[in-house]
Protein backbone atom coordinates (compact mmCIF):
# COMPACT_ATOMS: atom_id res chain seq x y z
CA UNK A 1 0.00 0.00 0.00
CA UNK A 2 1.40 3.37 -1.02
CA UNK A 3 0.59 6.28 1.32
CA UNK A 4 1.02 9.80 0.05
CA UNK A 5 1.49 12.46 2.66
CA UNK A 6 0.67 16.14 2.40
CA UNK A 7 2.69 18.72 4.24
CA UNK A 8 1.49 22.24 4.92
CA UNK A 9 3.63 25.25 5.80
CA UNK A 10 1.87 28.24 7.26
CA UNK A 11 3.48 31.67 7.46
CA UNK A 12 2.41 34.28 9.99
CA UNK A 13 3.24 37.98 9.62
CA UNK A 14 4.58 39.01 12.99
CA UNK A 15 4.65 42.68 13.97
CA UNK A 16 8.02 43.10 15.60
CA UNK A 17 9.62 46.49 15.68
CA UNK A 18 13.16 45.42 15.46
CA UNK A 19 13.32 42.27 13.45
CA UNK A 20 13.62 42.35 9.73
CA UNK A 21 12.78 38.87 8.60
CA UNK A 22 13.69 37.39 5.31
CA UNK A 23 12.32 34.02 4.46
CA UNK A 24 14.08 31.85 2.02
CA UNK A 25 12.28 28.81 0.74
CA UNK A 26 14.26 25.81 -0.27
CA UNK A 27 12.37 22.94 -1.74
CA UNK A 28 13.73 19.47 -1.85
CA UNK A 29 12.03 16.78 -3.73
CA UNK A 30 12.54 13.17 -2.72
CA UNK A 31 10.48 10.85 -4.74
CA UNK A 32 6.81 11.55 -4.14
CA UNK A 33 7.43 13.34 -0.86
CA UNK A 34 8.16 17.04 -0.94
CA UNK A 35 10.05 18.61 1.89
CA UNK A 36 9.99 22.35 2.35
CA UNK A 37 12.58 24.02 4.41
CA UNK A 38 12.22 27.61 5.53
CA UNK A 39 15.30 29.54 6.48
CA UNK A 40 14.72 32.71 8.40
CA UNK A 41 17.34 35.38 8.52
CA UNK A 42 16.85 38.00 11.18
CA UNK A 43 18.45 41.41 11.20
CA UNK A 44 18.28 43.61 14.27
CA UNK A 45 17.72 47.34 14.06
CA UNK A 46 21.15 48.90 14.01
CA UNK A 47 21.39 52.33 15.64
CA UNK A 48 24.19 54.88 16.00
CA UNK A 49 23.75 57.11 19.06
CA UNK A 50 25.65 60.38 18.81
CA UNK A 51 25.74 62.34 22.08
CA UNK A 52 28.40 63.91 24.29
CA UNK A 53 26.43 63.25 27.49
CA UNK A 54 27.32 59.84 28.96
CA UNK A 55 23.98 59.76 30.75
CA UNK A 56 22.05 60.17 27.51
CA UNK A 57 24.23 57.58 25.81
CA UNK A 58 23.39 55.08 28.55
CA UNK A 59 19.68 55.82 28.53
CA UNK A 60 19.32 55.83 24.75
CA UNK A 61 21.33 52.63 24.47
CA UNK A 62 18.96 50.99 26.95
CA UNK A 63 15.89 52.22 25.09
CA UNK A 64 17.20 50.75 21.83
CA UNK A 65 18.02 47.46 23.56
CA UNK A 66 14.56 47.14 25.12
CA UNK A 67 12.94 47.50 21.72
CA UNK A 68 15.20 44.79 20.37
CA UNK A 69 17.83 46.82 18.55
CA UNK A 70 21.59 47.06 18.84
CA UNK A 71 23.55 50.28 19.12
CA UNK A 72 26.96 51.81 18.66
CA UNK A 73 27.92 55.06 20.31
CA UNK A 74 29.80 58.18 19.25
CA UNK A 75 30.71 60.81 21.85
CA UNK A 76 30.52 63.65 19.36
CA UNK A 77 29.86 64.47 15.74
CA UNK A 78 33.46 64.02 14.68
CA UNK A 79 33.44 60.43 15.93
CA UNK A 80 30.24 59.82 13.99
CA UNK A 81 31.90 61.07 10.81
CA UNK A 82 34.99 58.91 11.41
CA UNK A 83 32.76 55.84 11.84
CA UNK A 84 31.33 56.46 8.38
CA UNK A 85 34.58 57.37 6.69
CA UNK A 86 35.38 53.96 5.22
CA UNK A 87 31.93 53.72 3.68
CA UNK A 88 31.14 50.39 5.33
CA UNK A 89 29.03 51.68 8.22
CA UNK A 90 25.40 50.76 7.80
CA UNK A 91 22.97 52.05 10.36
CA UNK A 92 19.21 51.94 10.10
CA UNK A 93 18.89 54.89 12.43
CA UNK A 94 21.16 57.62 13.76
CA UNK A 95 20.11 59.51 16.89
CA UNK A 96 21.89 62.85 16.66
CA UNK A 97 22.26 65.22 19.58
CA UNK A 98 22.41 68.87 18.57
CA UNK A 99 24.87 70.46 20.97
CA UNK A 100 28.19 68.65 21.05
CA UNK A 101 31.85 69.64 21.23
CA UNK A 102 34.26 69.05 18.31
CA UNK A 103 31.43 68.90 15.79
CA UNK A 104 27.80 69.68 16.56
CA UNK A 105 24.70 67.89 15.32
CA UNK A 106 23.97 70.32 12.49
CA UNK A 107 27.45 70.12 11.04
CA UNK A 108 27.58 66.35 11.49
CA UNK A 109 24.27 65.79 9.75
CA UNK A 110 25.35 67.97 6.80
CA UNK A 111 28.63 66.11 6.55
CA UNK A 112 27.02 62.68 6.68
CA UNK A 113 24.59 63.62 3.92
CA UNK A 114 27.51 64.92 1.83
CA UNK A 115 29.09 61.51 2.38
CA UNK A 116 25.91 59.96 0.92
CA UNK A 117 24.82 58.41 4.20
CA UNK A 118 21.21 57.37 3.70
CA UNK A 119 20.38 56.25 7.25
CA UNK A 120 17.37 57.79 8.92
CA UNK A 121 18.82 60.62 11.02
CA UNK A 122 16.71 61.81 13.94
CA UNK A 123 17.78 65.00 15.64
CA UNK A 124 17.47 65.22 19.41
CA UNK A 125 16.89 68.75 20.57
CA UNK A 126 16.22 70.61 23.74
CA UNK A 127 12.82 72.17 24.38
CA UNK A 128 14.63 75.44 24.95
CA UNK A 129 15.91 75.48 21.36
CA UNK A 130 14.43 78.24 19.27
CA UNK A 131 12.30 77.44 16.23
CA UNK A 132 14.94 78.74 13.82
CA UNK A 133 17.56 76.51 15.44
CA UNK A 134 15.32 73.49 15.01
CA UNK A 135 14.63 74.45 11.40
CA UNK A 136 18.34 74.80 10.65
CA UNK A 137 18.88 71.34 12.14
CA UNK A 138 16.13 69.85 9.95
CA UNK A 139 17.52 71.59 6.87
CA UNK A 140 20.93 70.05 7.53
CA UNK A 141 19.39 66.74 6.45
CA UNK A 142 17.40 65.27 9.30
CA UNK A 143 14.45 62.98 8.68
CA UNK A 144 12.82 63.85 11.99
CA UNK A 145 13.40 65.85 15.14
CA UNK A 146 12.52 64.81 18.68
CA UNK A 147 12.72 66.81 21.88
CA UNK A 148 14.52 65.51 24.93
CA UNK A 149 14.04 63.50 26.97
CA UNK A 150 13.85 60.58 24.59
CA UNK A 151 11.47 57.80 25.53
CA UNK A 152 10.41 54.51 23.98
CA UNK A 153 7.06 56.06 23.13
CA UNK A 154 8.71 58.84 21.12
CA UNK A 155 11.03 56.54 19.19
CA UNK A 156 8.70 53.63 18.41
CA UNK A 157 6.52 55.41 15.79
CA UNK A 158 9.69 56.33 13.86
CA UNK A 159 10.96 52.77 14.01
CA UNK A 160 7.58 51.48 12.81
CA UNK A 161 7.84 53.90 9.91
CA UNK A 162 11.35 52.63 9.22
CA UNK A 163 10.20 49.02 9.26
CA UNK A 164 7.32 49.74 6.92
CA UNK A 165 9.55 51.52 4.42
Amino acid sequence: VYVRRTQFTIFFRIQNHCLKTKSKMATKSTGDIEKTKSIEMKKKLNVLIVDDDPLNLKIHERIIKTIGGISQMAKNGEEAVIIHRDGRASFDLILMDKEMPERDGVSTTKKLREMKVTSMIVGVTSLADREEERRAFMEAGLNHCLAKPLTKEKILPLINHLMDA
Partner: protein, 140 residues
Amino acid sequence: MQRQVALIKQSLFDQGYLDDQFMELEELQDDANPNFVEEVATLYFKDSARLINNIDQALERGSFDFSRLDSYMHQFKGSSTSIGASKVKTECTTFREYCRVGNAEGCLRTFQQLKKEHATWQDRRGLGRQHVGPSKERDK
Protein backbone atom coordinates in the same frame (compact mmCIF):
# COMPACT_ATOMS: atom_id res chain seq x y z
CA MET B 1 12.58 47.96 54.32
CA GLN B 2 11.02 47.99 50.86
CA ARG B 3 8.21 50.09 52.24
CA GLN B 4 10.63 52.66 53.60
CA VAL B 5 12.32 52.91 50.21
CA ALA B 6 8.95 53.25 48.51
CA LEU B 7 7.93 56.02 50.91
CA ILE B 8 11.17 57.90 50.34
CA LYS B 9 10.75 57.61 46.60
CA GLN B 10 7.10 58.67 46.76
CA SER B 11 8.02 61.73 48.77
CA LEU B 12 10.52 62.73 46.07
CA PHE B 13 7.71 62.56 43.52
CA ASP B 14 5.15 64.28 45.72
CA GLN B 15 7.48 67.16 46.51
CA GLY B 16 8.39 67.64 42.85
CA TYR B 17 11.99 66.48 43.00
CA LEU B 18 11.28 63.76 40.44
CA ASP B 19 8.96 63.74 37.46
CA ASP B 20 7.56 61.24 34.95
CA GLN B 21 10.92 60.86 33.24
CA PHE B 22 12.22 58.99 36.29
CA MET B 23 9.35 56.53 35.92
CA GLU B 24 10.31 56.07 32.27
CA LEU B 25 13.77 55.05 33.45
CA GLU B 26 12.28 52.60 35.95
CA GLU B 27 10.37 50.99 33.10
CA LEU B 28 13.64 50.39 31.28
CA GLN B 29 14.86 48.31 34.21
CA ASP B 30 14.20 44.58 34.14
CA ASP B 31 15.53 41.29 35.51
CA ALA B 32 18.35 41.32 32.99
CA ASN B 33 19.32 44.86 34.01
CA PRO B 34 18.20 45.15 37.64
CA ASN B 35 20.55 48.01 38.49
CA PHE B 36 19.86 50.26 35.53
CA VAL B 37 18.23 53.08 37.50
CA GLU B 38 20.92 52.97 40.17
CA GLU B 39 23.63 53.10 37.49
CA VAL B 40 21.96 56.07 35.81
CA ALA B 41 21.59 57.89 39.13
CA THR B 42 25.24 57.22 40.00
CA LEU B 43 26.31 58.60 36.63
CA TYR B 44 24.11 61.65 37.10
CA PHE B 45 25.45 62.50 40.56
CA LYS B 46 29.03 62.02 39.43
CA ASP B 47 28.54 64.32 36.43
CA SER B 48 26.50 66.87 38.35
CA ALA B 49 29.17 67.08 41.07
CA ARG B 50 31.68 67.97 38.36
CA LEU B 51 29.40 70.62 36.88
CA ILE B 52 28.58 72.12 40.27
CA ASN B 53 32.29 72.33 41.00
CA ASN B 54 32.97 74.02 37.64
CA ILE B 55 30.20 76.54 38.19
CA ASP B 56 31.30 77.17 41.78
CA GLN B 57 34.82 77.93 40.60
CA ALA B 58 33.59 80.15 37.78
CA LEU B 59 31.39 82.14 40.19
CA GLU B 60 34.12 82.42 42.82
CA ARG B 61 36.40 84.11 40.32
CA GLY B 62 34.04 87.05 40.46
CA SER B 63 34.15 87.95 36.78
CA PHE B 64 31.01 86.46 35.34
CA ASP B 65 31.54 84.75 32.00
CA PHE B 66 27.84 84.31 31.30
CA SER B 67 28.48 82.40 28.12
CA ARG B 68 30.59 79.79 29.92
CA LEU B 69 28.16 79.62 32.84
CA ASP B 70 25.28 79.14 30.41
CA SER B 71 27.17 76.34 28.70
CA TYR B 72 27.76 74.52 32.00
CA MET B 73 24.14 74.96 32.97
CA HIS B 74 22.98 73.73 29.56
CA GLN B 75 24.79 70.46 30.25
CA PHE B 76 23.41 70.30 33.77
CA LYS B 77 19.89 70.93 32.57
CA GLY B 78 20.25 68.28 29.89
CA SER B 79 21.23 65.52 32.29
CA SER B 80 18.68 66.65 34.88
CA THR B 81 15.98 66.44 32.23
CA SER B 82 17.11 62.97 31.20
CA ILE B 83 16.89 61.61 34.73
CA GLY B 84 13.69 63.41 35.71
CA ALA B 85 15.24 65.72 38.32
CA SER B 86 12.44 68.22 38.07
CA LYS B 87 13.36 70.81 40.69
CA VAL B 88 17.00 70.89 39.64
CA LYS B 89 15.92 71.28 36.01
CA THR B 90 13.71 74.26 36.93
CA GLU B 91 16.59 75.99 38.72
CA CYS B 92 18.83 75.33 35.71
CA THR B 93 16.28 77.06 33.46
CA THR B 94 16.06 80.05 35.80
CA PHE B 95 19.84 80.28 36.02
CA ARG B 96 20.14 80.30 32.22
CA GLU B 97 17.58 83.08 31.99
CA TYR B 98 19.65 85.16 34.39
CA CYS B 99 22.72 84.41 32.28
CA ARG B 100 20.95 85.65 29.18
CA VAL B 101 20.21 89.02 30.76
CA GLY B 102 23.56 89.21 32.54
CA ASN B 103 22.09 89.22 36.05
CA ALA B 104 24.95 88.07 38.29
CA GLU B 105 23.01 88.26 41.53
CA GLY B 106 20.19 86.23 40.08
CA CYS B 107 22.68 83.61 38.97
CA LEU B 108 24.24 83.39 42.43
CA ARG B 109 20.89 83.16 44.18
CA THR B 110 19.55 80.54 41.81
CA PHE B 111 22.70 78.48 42.02
CA GLN B 112 22.43 78.32 45.80
CA GLN B 113 18.86 77.09 45.45
CA LEU B 114 19.91 74.57 42.81
CA LYS B 115 22.61 73.13 45.07
CA LYS B 116 20.08 72.85 47.88
CA GLU B 117 17.58 70.93 45.72
CA HIS B 118 20.34 68.73 44.36
CA ALA B 119 21.66 67.97 47.88
CA THR B 120 18.18 67.13 49.18
CA TRP B 121 17.65 64.58 46.46
CA GLN B 122 21.12 63.14 46.95
CA ASP B 123 20.56 62.81 50.70
CA ARG B 124 17.24 61.03 50.26
CA ARG B 125 18.74 58.72 47.69
CA GLY B 126 21.45 57.93 50.24
CA LEU B 127 18.77 57.15 52.82
CA GLY B 128 17.05 54.81 50.44
CA ARG B 129 20.27 52.97 49.65
CA GLN B 130 21.00 52.56 53.36
CA HIS B 131 17.64 50.91 53.88
CA VAL B 132 18.01 48.55 50.97
CA GLY B 133 21.74 47.89 50.92
CA PRO B 134 23.45 46.57 47.78
CA SER B 135 21.21 46.07 44.76
CA LYS B 136 21.30 42.26 44.90
CA GLU B 137 19.58 42.30 48.26
CA ARG B 138 16.52 44.03 46.82
CA ASP B 139 15.45 40.84 45.12
CA LYS B 140 15.53 38.74 48.30
